[in-house]
Amino acid sequence: MKTTIEEIEQQIAGEFENFEDWLEKYNYIIEMGKDLPLINEKFKTKQNLISGCQSSVWLHADYKDGLVFFSADSDAVITKGIVNMLIRVLSGQTPEDIISSQLTFIDEVGLKEHLSPTRSNGLVSMIKQMKFYALAFQTKYGA
């Protein structure tokens, strides 16, 4: 059986558990952000761009065998680190699970501030857009 959204969220929360301070935590996020681009260059189109005021995100979605696959990128490395985690959690899941996901791990690992609706780093819009894709696929290909 495939790993559920909650399970991956717990995994990530676990990875953060051992960090002593914000320095270690952010070093880890930055490492995740520095990983190879999470999106194929050809998908970094204007249409896939979600402009925040502070940083921007590109998001692409595919549908295969009832599952949604995301790839994404950001111009800011910390944003990208969080994008990386979101993709780990949501990519390869069913539309229903994506739509109903609560993404509580963000709060748990202390990154809630990055998802403040007014922070304008593109992340809030990105999550909205991920759920929107899931909904669109669900509508198109049936539940």
Partner: protein
């Protein structure tokens, strides 16, 4: 009607200004319809903000900015709940009722109104709900129609129905009249207006501190009020608008937070409610407004209305015992506002002398000049009540009015 937990002595202690003396007499403050006084809870909230959280908000990454932003958006949420708006996007912060009405008039003037269209208001509007519409008529060629009122100071519904036409685009009227105290049947009027295909703006400046307002139940398209008339600081106010309508409206002021992307070729606007909030907002003021709403909610508006109703009844009875005194606004549905005149006495003379008793009443046209004309008087003397007023204070007013009358006749 008054809940047991409404302890007037305790309430009065919350308002520092009430212990002030004027001409060596304890202040009696009956000018609440102009602006009411602020409890320490509101002042403390503002101080707390400026001493701990002050920062420019939105899009700031640093801690204080995030904290101030959250506080500001929570204040919006509190207001949303207070008037039962459907979403926070429908709650726009303004500097007051006047600002809110001008916003709507100007924005609708740019998109909705064209020559020959009609805007319908009533004879009992405050200047702030007259002049913006006159100005927009001037720029668009629309006409201002005015619904009659009765001698008792109520809207003439038959006249309203006659004047509401297929050309009417907007109806704008107050929920409660600042001069007469009349509580207008806005729900009914909104229904009739919607059936005729027009939008309704409610000027709630005099309502929110005295009635529980539910914008979804009323089904109004816009609702405006000022903070300073609900125990909150000056320079604050709210425009409620239905989301789908606000969404289609062009922005009012440009600059600051209201943009999505600015270039010299093309500027795009932010989403609601930010589209209508240009410039650095009055964060401290918004938090003061939130604190005021929480303070009011602590008693419940029904409790306060009950208490103020008692004052209204008592004051009306006592004042009417004075010879030659006429009260304007005799509707059965009223808030605690008593506008009156003494036969042959000029309101300015009366106000000048009543003041000398340490009693603050307002005199003159009360920003409703057409009403002054309607009743054929040079002005009114208005006593308006708030939660901290007492019957003893009303007794003092009655005594002062009697003395004033003796001196002037």
């Amino acid at each position: 009607m008054i809940k047991v937990d409404f302890n007037i002595d305790k309430v009065r202690k919350d308002f520092p200004i009430l212990s002030r003396e004027i001409y060596k007499r304890p202040l009696v403050y009956f000018d609440n319809a102009a602006t009411n006084q602020k409890p320490v809870q509101v002042l403390n909230r503002m101080d707390l903000y400026y001493e701990n959280q002050n920062s420019n908000i939105h899009r700031g990454v640093h801690f204080l900015s995030q904290e101030a932003t959250s506080a500001y958006e929570e204040a919006r949420e509190t207001i949303k709940t207070f008037i039962n708006a459907h979403s926070r996007s429908e709650v726009v912060f303004t500097k007051g009722t006047t600002d809110a009405i001008n916003l709507v008039a100007h924005s609708l003037g740019r998109k909705l109104l064209k020559a020959g269209d009609e805007i319908l208001i009533t004879f009992m509007e405050h200047h702030s709900n007259i002049v913006p519409w006159q100005m927009v008529c001037e720029t668009t060629g629309a006409y201002l129609k005015v619904c009659n009122i009765t001698e008792k100071g109520e809207i003439d519904i038959e006249d309203f129905k006659t004047k509401l036409s297929r050309k009417t685009r907007i109806v704008a009227l107050n929920h409660v009249s600042n001069t007469l105290g009349t509580i207008n049947p806005v729900k009914e009027i909104i229904k009739i207006t919607h059936d005729a295909g027009a939008l309704v703006l409610i000027d709630g400046a005099q309502a929110v501190a005295h009635l529980q307002v539910d914008v979804q139940d009323l089904d109004c398209d816009f609702y405006c009020f000022s903070g300073h008339k609900i125990y909150a600081p000056m320079g604050t106010g709210v425009l409620y608008g239905k989301e789908d309508i606000l969404d289609k409206m062009p922005p009012y002021q440009g600059g600051g937070e209201m943009i999505a992307m600015v270039s010299f070729e093309k500027t795009t606007y932010n989403e609601l409610p930010f589209k209508f909030e240009a410039g650095t907002p009055n964060v401290g003021g918004a938090l003061g407004l939130e604190a005021a709403i929480k303070y009011v909610n602590g008693f419940g508006l029904a409790t306060l209305a009950g208490y103020e109703d008692d004052l209204l009844k008592y004051g009306t009875e006592k004042l009417l015992q004075i010879e030659g005194l006429r009260i304007y606004g005799e509707s059965a549905l009223k808030t605690g506002v008593i506008s009156f005149n003494l036969n042959k006495v000029h309101s300015y003379d009366a106000g000048t002398l009543i003041d000398k008793f340490g009693i603050a009443v307002r005199t003159g046209h009360l920003c409703t000049q057409p009403l002054v004309g309607f009743f054929g008087v040079p002005g009114f003397i208005r006593a308006s009540f708030a939660m901290y007023n007492t019957k003893q204070e009303i007794d003092k007013l009655v005594e002062a009015v009697i003395k004033t009358r003796e001196m002037l006749l």
